[in-house]
Structures are given as structure tokens and as C-alpha cells.
Amino acid sequence: MREPVLEARSLVRSYGDTPALRGVSVAVGAGEVVAVTGPSGSGKSTLLHCLAGILRPEAGEVHFAGTRIDTLSEARRTTLRRGQFGVLFQFGQLVPELTAAENVALPLLLDRHGRAESLTAARGWLDRFEVTDLADRRPGELSGGQAQRVAMARALVTEPQVVFADEPTGALDALAGERVLTALLGVARRAGTTVLLVTHDTTVAAYADREIGLRDGAVERADVPA
């Protein structure tokens, strides 16, 4: 494995009396594409949320590029997520009232970039995902696959070091899912971006360099797919 850019050490997290993570330790190298797999309720999403700084673990540590991030304030973790991380979910992540270009430009506007500059950059990223012609449409006017491409452009517009994708193809049919995944990983690999992919689908996991299997909140296996 390449030098770790992201590392979790003995993470523990529970929801009420239900444990979600029981001392999980993982490391992800720079530029690596890692799939986190496991059955429903195995703790995949919770692990991703802890690694992305969305959730704080109850015990254990999360390190990103040599800095411990789980102890940072909410404001600093938010800034980190906006600048260094890109986040992609199954659905419902685009603001329905904003156009596709404005959705993609939003992280740049939040970083106080100019409006014109942000929208130009957004259109560039929409072009990379081959949806430039949809720039002025709103999410409600897009198909599921098109909306995911716009979401991917938004996740990558700040040129993050790590992209966290939680079941990014879960709401798409097989063909649309394959196209979306190919586009995401193609752009990420060219840019040397690390991708952490949560999925329960073995065909999706096959796109990754390495697979980490979870079961009942613990790492079951961490290997390279055949």
C-alpha cells in the first residue's frame, strides 16, 4: 500500500445501545481507490462518516495527511470537508432550486471565490463529466445518472485529496451506475485523488484497487479483489 493519507485507529461508534463500529482500524493510501463492503448494518456508512469528519467516533482516532481530525472543531472539520474532501451520496444531495452549474459552484462560492470565476470552474467540471449542456437545468429536470454526474462534479470542483462516495450508484440502474462509476474513477485516477467507496454491490467493489470488508462493526477482511 502507498503511504497512508487517511487512517482510522480503533474506531468505536454506536447508535444508542446498538454498536456500529467496534474498534475498526483501516488505512488508505494516497491515490488509492478502496471499496468498503459489507451487508446492511455492518457499519460501512458509519465508518465513511467518521473518516470524512462528518461523525465523531466515541473512541479511537482519525488521521488525515498526518493531522488528527476527529478532535477538530465542527467549523474546522467543515472547512476540511469543503476543501480537502469531496462527498458523494446515493441521492438527495443537490439543492433542487439551484441550477446544475450553481450546485457545482457552491463550494467555491462558500470559499469566497467570485461568482463568475466559480461558475466558469463549475462549467469546466461539468464538461469533464460530459454534462455541460445541462448546466442551466435544475436537479428535478435531470435523470438519476445525470444528477450523479453533477454531484460528482461538485465533489471534485475543489480538487480534493479524498472523495468519499456512499453507495453512489445505489439509486441507478446497472448501465447508468457503470457509466457513473467509470466517469468518477477515470477523473479521480487521472487527478491522483483517493477514493473511498462504500457499497454492498460486489460488481461496484470490483472497480476498486482494494476492498475492506466489514461485518458487525468490525473489519472482516482487507484484501485486493481478484
Partner: protein
């Protein structure tokens, strides 16, 4: 049908229970206001029989000849608004006008947990219920709560009345007409009408929701607001001036056509204000969205541009309060100028009562706005949580929510205040002292209205903080 609705209600979640509780509370309040109006109209003339031979009456003011031989004036009530028979219909009307913000509140409450309820209705369709049956079940859901609220309101009214009457010292004027019995027929009519009005308000609020067996909820295309309501508004204000002019020229000799014409003008103005506000909101939002570089303003402006009617609907009761308060302020100034110091206190106290009524209406309207805002935030919680997860600061979302409420409120309140001023001037056109616009008072009215909208939105912020919890992002 009622059985199915009740069984569905019994299996309801927390949000459904909150909706039911608010519907009961709103209906109880509506019943209370309606009964107050009924009681005021039921105050009868007092005669010597009720008070003894030494007493006579004159417009509700009881004149007693005391043992000393000196005539002593004893009033039945502390407020002349209740003593003067000619003013009682106005007082009753003021109470009934308070029903408008309460009905808006009920409509807003009916939207709580709409998504969950929509899924439930879709499940009923899948189980074989026809669209009509589903609509009746939804109406029964609201109707049962409103009926319970009406009964609770009646009970509360009777208890409060008994408590106030128990504290009355014999021989002194009463503060409230607690000596007047509730007329049975009117009381039954109120208790029956409140659930019907509640159902009507909720059906109106949910008219764009269509449940299908596939679990889909289709909302009809929201039409963009047009600019013609501005003409309606101008026409309404002008129409309000017409009866005063006709009265001065002697074309109107009785009260009924005068009141009917004034009401028609006011209703046109109200419709004009609400529709103009939506148009103005849409225009301002589009302008802001095209030029702003602030993410919070962009989020707010695009939401407003997409559904300008939604925000106006949420603030409509506040806008009505501004319209009435502005109109009353102008008429107060004109009236006090024209009567001079002789009857000034009497009229001032009458207008103080109007101000108090508008204040109560504003409080109800602001509560309704809190409910509407919380529901809007809860409905978008997944989207908001995803934004925070992607690095949007919570502060940006808070500012967006505030901007979404306050930005359109400023021009809308201005339009409502101007319309109210126009109505006040139109109605007071016969005053001999000329037109005196109480600018400071109008500024206070507008400021309080915008402030209450801001406060109501600020009270929503804790719900926003809860809604962006990462738990909303779980799909497992």
C-alpha cells in the same frame, strides 16, 4: 371512513401527534374567538326590572338614583365598546376577523409531516382506496382533531368565563360580559362550524397533493405569479373610497350597503396584497439570484424564485395584520384629529382594542410561521444534512433561512402597509381636519411585522441544527 381515519391516527408517529395537538389547539383558539364575538352580540339592553325600580337605562349605561337622591351613573362594563350597542357589532367583527390568522395557522399545521402522511395515503390507495376515499380519510383526520379542539375551546371558554365571573364584585362594572349567557343555537353553530372551517383550510392547504397507488405524490406545476394583482390592489383601495364618497353625496342612507361596499374593497385589497407580494418576491429573488456571490443569499433567492407563493403563503397572515394595523392607525389619527379632546379617550380606547386584536392576530400568525418554517426545514433535512456533510457551514444555512424569510418580507410588508394606509385614507376621506398620516406609527407597524417574521424564523433555527444531523444521511 371515520373508523379507518381514527385507526390510522392511532398508529401515527411523533410528527403526526404534534400536528394533531396543534390542530386541536388552533381549533380551540378559533372557537374561543368566535364565542367571544357571539357573546358580545348577545349583550342585551338592560332595563329596570333587572336592576330594581330605581334604575333606568340609556345605551347600556345604567343610571341609578341612589338613596341620597343624587343621580349616579353606573356602567355595566368598564369598556364603552361593550356599553354602546352601536359599537358591539364592530367588536364582534374584530373577534371574528381574528379567525383569519387562526385558519391560516390551521392550514399551516395541516402541512406538518406531509411527506409521511402522503406515504400513508399512497399506501391506502395501494390497498384499494379510491382517490375520493383517500381525500375523505385525510379530511377526517383533520376534522376529528378540529372537532376535539372546538369542544375543548367551548369547555375552556365556559371555565374561563365562570372563573372571571366568580371574581366579580357586586355593584361594580364588569370588565368582560361574563353575565351574558351563551345562546344555545349560536354556540352549537360555532362548535359545528370550526371543524368544517378547519377541514376547508387543510383541504385548501393540501390541494396540490395527489396520492397514487405507486406511492408517488404529484404536485401540480406551481404557476409563476403575475403582475396584474397590483391593479387589483389599486382597484381595491379605490373601491374602499367609493362608499365614503357616496355617503357624503347622500347616495347611501343606510349602514348595510356602506359596510358591504367597504368590505368588498377591503377583500379586493387583501387579495391584491397577497398576490402582489408573491409577484414582488419572485422578481426580487430572481434579481438577487443573478447577481449575488453570497451562497446564503443565492440559496435563499433560488428557493424564493422557485416557489414565491410558498413564502407569501407562510407570511400571509402577518401581511393581513399589517394591512389592518396600518388602516387602523391612519383611521385612528384621522378620528382623533376630527373629534378633538372631547371624546378622544373613548375613541382612543376603541382603537387600542383594535391594536390589541391585531397584536393577538400577529402572535397567532407568527406561531403559524414557526410551524411552517419548521415543517419546511424538516422536509428538506436530507438535503440540508448532505450540504453540511459536503462542507457547507451551518451558519450559511442559518443565514439562508433567515434571508429566505426576511428578504421577501420587507417589500411585502411595505406593500401591505401602503395598502392599509390607502384604505385608512379612503375610509377617512370625510374627515374635516384633512389627511394626517401617522408615519411613525406606520413605521413601527412595519418594523414589528418584519421583526416578528425574523423572530419566528430565528425560533426555527434549533430545528435546523437538529435536521442537519449525519443520521439523516444513512441509507441502510
Amino acid at each position: 371512513m371515520i373508523g379507518v381515519a381514527v385507526r390510522v391516527l392511532r398508529g401515527a408517529g411523533r410528527a403526526d401527534r404534534v400536528r394533531s395537538a396543534l390542530l386541536v389547539a388552533g381549533s380551540a383558539l378559533a372557537t374561543g374567538f368566535a364565542l367571544c364575538g357571539v357573546v358580545v352580540l348577545s349583550i342585551g339592553g338592560l332595563d329596570a326590572r333587572t336592576l330594581g325600580r330605581s334604575c333606568a337605562t340609556d345605551h347600556g349605561v345604567i343610571v341609578c338614583v341612589a338613596g341620597t337622591g343624587q343621580p349616579v351613573a353606573v356602567r355595566a362594563y368598564t369598556s364603552n365598546l361593550l356599553n354602546e350597542p352601536g359599537l358591539r357589532p364592530g367588536v364582534a367583527l374584530a373577534f371574528w376577523l381574528l379567525l383569519i390568522p387562526v385558519l391560516v395557522f390551521l392550514g399551516q399545521c395541516a402541512r406538518i409531516a406531509a411527506a409521511r402522511r402522503d406515504r400513508r395515503l399512497a399506501a391506502l390507495r395501494l390497498a384499494g382506496a379510491t382517490p375520493g376515499q383517500v381525500a375523505r380519510i385525510a379530511a377526517t383526520d383533520t376534522g376529528v382533531c378540529c372537532a376535539l379542539g372546538a369542544l375543548a375551546g367551548l369547555g375552556g371558554f365556559l371555565l374561563l368565563r365562570a372563573a372571571v365571573e366568580a371574581g366579580h364584585v357586586a355593584g361594580t362594572p364588569r370588565t368582560l360580559p361574563t353575565d351574558v349567557g351563551l345562546p344555545v343555537l349560536e354556540t352549537v353553530a360555532v362548535v359545528a362550524a370550526v371543524p368544517l372551517l378547519g377541514v376547508a383550510a387543510s383541504v385548501l392547504a393540501l390541494r396540490r397533493v395527489v396520492a397514487t397507488p405507486l406511492g408517488l405524490v404529484r404536485r401540480r406545476q406551481v404557476t409563476a405569479p403575475a403582475g396584474w394583482p397590483a391593479v387589483l390592489l389599486a382597484f381595491g383601495v379605490a373601491a374602499t373610497a367609493l362608499p365614503t364618497a357616496l355617503l357624503r353625496q347622500g347616495h347611501i342612507r343606510t349602514v348595510a350597503p356602506f359596510v358591504a361596499l367597504v368590505l368588498a374593497g377591503v377583500l379586493l385589497s387583501v387579495a391584491g396584497v397577497l398576490l402582489s407580494a408573491a409577484w414582488l418576491t419572485g422578481r426580487c429573488a430572481r434579481l438577487l439570484a443573478r447577481h449575488t456571490r453570497r451562497p446564503a443569499v443565492l440559496l435563499a433567492a433560488r428557493r424564493l424564485e422557485r416557489d414565491p407563493h410558498g413564502q407569501t403563503r407562510a407570511t400571509s397572515a402577518v401581511l393581513l395584520c399589517v394591512l389592518f394595523a396600518a388602516g387602523a392607525s391612519v383611521m385612528r389619527a384621522l378620528t382623533l384629529d376630527s373629534v378633538g379632546s372631547g371624546n378622544g379617550d373613548f375613541y382612543a380606547s376603541a382603537y387600542d382594542l383594535v391594536t390589541a386584536a391585531v397584536g393577538i392576530a400577529l402572535a397567532v400568525a407568527a406561531t403559524g410561521l414557526v410551524v411552517a418554517n419548521v415543517e419546511a426545514v424538516v422536509e428538506r433535512r436530507r438535503e440540508l444534512a448532505a450540504l453540511v456533510a459536503a462542507g457547507t457551514p451551518r451558519g450559511t444555512l442559518r443565514r439562508a433561512l433567515l434571508a429566505q424569510s426576511v428578504l421577501p418580507a420587507v417589500p411585502a410588508v411595505l406593500v401591505a402597509a401602503l395598502a392599509g394606509t390607502g384604505i385608512g385614507v379612503a375610509l377617512g376621506a370625510g374627515a374635516e381636519t384633512g389627511t394626517h398620516i401617522p408615519v411613525l406609527r406606520l413605521v413601527v407597524v412595519a418594523g414589528v411585522a418584519v421583526g416578528s417574521i425574523g423572530l419566528a424564523t430565528a425560533l426555527t433555527l434549533p430545528a435546523l441544527n437538529q435536521s442537519v444531523h449525519p443520521g439523516e444521511l444513512r441509507f441502510e
